[in-house]
């Protein structure tokens, strides 16, 4: 096998200042807290989205007649419509929730971590 170089393109080479900052960040408990919190939040929301979507797909795959249930006996609208549109709206809502917390709380923590590292 040919010898593959580990060091990648030049833009990845960190400056000395960055290396020192990285060292500081590595030891900053706030960094561990940020990563743990943000990852837990991101994965939780991902699992919720996957569950909603594949739940929808599985209903279609295994019990599509249920989606044809009428919302009210007087009308023609079926339960499938609010559910389908609900999946779309839930995708928008979940992204909104993530951005709100990530651009607020998490970015503030991140700012402090970077600040403390210099």
């Amino acid at each position: 096998m040919t010898k593959w170089r580990v060091k990648v393109s030049s833009h990845n080479a960190p400056s000395a200042a960055n290396l020192a900052s990285a060292e500081h960040i590595r030891n900053n408990p706030k960094f561990k807290e940020l990563v743990a919190k943000r990852n837990a939040f991101a994965w939780t929301l991902s699992v919720i989205m996957l569950a909603i979507y594949f739940g929808f797909i599985l209903i279609i795959a295994f019990n599509k007649a249920w989606l044809g249930t009428l919302l009210s006996s007087a009308g023609v609208t079926t339960i499938g419509f609010p559910i389908g549109v609900g999946v779309i709206l839930s995708a928008i809502a979940l992204t909104g929730i993530y951005v709100y917390r990530a651009n607020g709380e998490f970015d503030e923590m991140n700012r402090q971590i970077i600040e403390e590292s210099r």
């Binding site: 990648v8 009308g75 609208t77 992204t95 993530y98 991140n110």
Partner: protein, 561 residues
């Protein structure tokens, strides 16, 4: 009848929701030609205005495109809101617009299943990918995979995955564009494909990412505005009551009440889940989409762009649903639009014309021309994004990193990228001509499956798993790539419909359910089996990578702090 079927098949095939639909709708239909319509002057005049405006923007953008960062990433100066619109413009193809409305028009509820599938990849991109991509990468997603892995093999692999996706997606868009323009503008297929190819080369070569972004933003606004107007027109006719709209649609539609629930399009659970995986994870592995995240200044704006994009795309899919039902009630009741008179759903020019005839029913000839021009603009925006992504894979990944070992000058790299854009444009036109009469229905399955099975697993693992080594990534990714290509070739769409064999060797329509887990598994397996010094160094480099990926420390063009 044959005409209608083939027109459905051709447009469905090129950008979007063919997927399960093709099996049901295109079964037995050859990919003949959509019928050339009378020259549509309203549409042509409005299209000329659009082209004039975008060429003006390209001229302006060319003056602002000096460095490689300008060319590939618009200098990182796009805001989250603008980028959200551009992403929506990049993602909403003419197939989503005409194809999903046609699907709803023909089958009712089933159309919604596809709309939902096209959307749900976006939250996953936001939660897991967007900010890490922005923090680690520069111009292409291979920057991220190659952050701590060996340059030559990983870049070669990522560029291959990108180019396969880009070229096949381009073929689909070109064939669809040719058929669609023939239909909407009354222009010959040959000229239609050449006009699309020439314009996309001009946008990308002269204006780079700046021009591409603005073409996508303008297109997104036109498409969202046009679709909103049609949907409002429909709802106005029914006193803004969905119940009244549905009652009328059930009365008109030959399938009657069956249009209110899922029907024949999704029958096999394996296909349903496999389709879901291909759509969801494939979206997160499309190189032209991932590339858009490098145009914003930092992770914060990258996140915002996904929020706006998800909002716009989701809103748009809800509109296409109203448009489809609107077409059942307002188009299928008017003999003027029907090929075989009242009582049949068959439309003049094929069922993909549902949204277009609805536009006519609501806003007359002028609005019909506007919507036709928007459909053309839509194709241009999508192919420009694809061309730029393909050109960057060639210039940034293959030329600058692999061939020149990172020693290429910035100017040379951009020159190579421009040459690649022209080459890709020529290749796209030629393939568009070669594939004119071919069945391209498999192309959507192929592009999304390759994106989900090759690009997505390697990208995710390189960001989240420190144990990933170059050997694991390349071998695992190649296995996902080969499996998805082979399974698509052996599936009914290609093996039976293109090659004419009797039985499909792979019984399902989409390989993602098998190829995506396989790519993850083999990347993991070959990584843990790899104990070379190289692999140890790569594992050790993960901590530094994760600091940059989580905090943005040292990220390219990050906001000043």
């Amino acid at each position: 009848m044959k005409m209608t079927k083939t027109a459905i098949a051709s447009t469905l095939a090129f950008g979007g929701m063919a997927l399960l639909a093709t099996a049901a709708l295109a079964a037995g239909a050859d990919m003949g030609n959509a019928q050339k319509q009378e020259t549509n002057w309203h549409a042509i005049i409005m299209f000329v205005i659009f082209v004039g405006a975008t060429l003006g923007i390209t001229y302006w953008a060319a003056g602002r495109t000096k460095t490689a960062a300008d060319f590939y990433a618009a200098g990182g100066g796009i805001t989250g809101f603008q980028n959200g619109l551009a992403i929506a413009g990049d993602y909403m193809s003419a197939a989503s617009f005409l194809g999903i409305s046609a699907l709803v028009y023909g089958s009712g509820y089933d159309g919604l299943i596809f709309s939902v599938g096209w959307l749900v990849g976006w939250p996953i991109i936001l939660f897991l990918i967007a900010e890490r991509l922005r923090n680690l990468g520069k111009y292409t997603f291979a920057d991220v995979c190659g952050y701590r892995l060996a340059r030559t093999p990983i870049r070669t692999f990522a560029a291959t995955g990108s180019l396969i996706v880009v070229i096949f997606y381009l073929i689909g868009q070109m064939v669809g564009a040719g058929q669609l323009i023939k239909l909407l503008f009354g222009m010959d297929y040959l000229y239609a494909v050449i006009v699309v190819g020439a314009l996309m080369m001009i946008y990308v070569t002269f204006g780079g990412m700046v021009a591409t972004t603005w073409v996508q933003i303008i297109k997104a606004c036109l498409l969202l505005g046009g679709a909103t107007f049609i949907a409002l027109g429909v709802m106005y006719n029914f006193g803004f009551s969905f119940e009244k709209l549905f009652v009328k649609a059930i009365e008109v539609h030959p399938k009657k009440v069956a249009i209110m629930a899922p029907g024949a399009l999704v029958t096999n659970p394996v296909d349903a889940i496999s389709l879901g995986m291909a759509l969801m994870f494939g979206t997160a592995g499309l190189p032209h989409i991932l590339m858009r995240f490098f145009t914003v200044p930092d992770a914060r704006e990258a996140r915002k762009s996904v929020f706006y994009a998800t909002g716009f795309i989701g809103y748009f899919y809800i509109l296409t649903f109203i448009i489809g039902f609107g077409a059942i009630t307002l188009v299928a009741t008017n003999p003027e639009y029907l090929a075989k008179g009242l009582g049949s759903l068959d439309l003049k020019g094929g069922n993909n014309m549902a949204a277009v005839w609805l536009a006519h029913a609501i806003g007359g000839n002028l609005f019909l021309g506007f919507i036709s021009a928007v459909a053309f603009a839509t194709i241009l925006a999508v192919v420009s994004g694809l061309t730029l992504a393909g050109a960057s894979a060639i210039s940034h990944d293959l030329y600058a990193s692999v061939i020149m070992h990172g020693q290429a000058t910035e100017g040379k790299e951009v020159t190579v990228s421009k040459i690649s854009s022209i080459a890709l444009g020529i290749v796209a036109v030629l393939l568009g001509l070669i594939f004119e009469k071919q069945n391209v229905a498999f192309i959507v399955a192929l592009t999304f499956s390759v994106a989900a099975s090759a690009n997505f697993p390697v990208l995710i693992l390189s960001m989240f798993w420190g144990g990933l080594t170059t050997r694991g990534a390349v071998l695992g990714g190649m296995i996902g790539l080969l499996m998805s290509v082979i399974m698509v070739v052996l599936s009914k769409a290609v093996w039976v419909q293109s090659f004419g064999f009797k039985e499909a060797l792979f019984p399902f329509a989409y390989p993602a359910l098998f190829s995506v887990p396989a790519a993850f598994f083999f990347s993991w397996l070959f990584s843990i089996m790899d104990n070379s010094p190289q692999a140890q160094a790569e594992r050790a480099a993960y901590e530094a990578q994760s600091i940059r990926s989580e905090t943005g420390l040292g990220a390219e063009g990050a906001a000043s702090h």
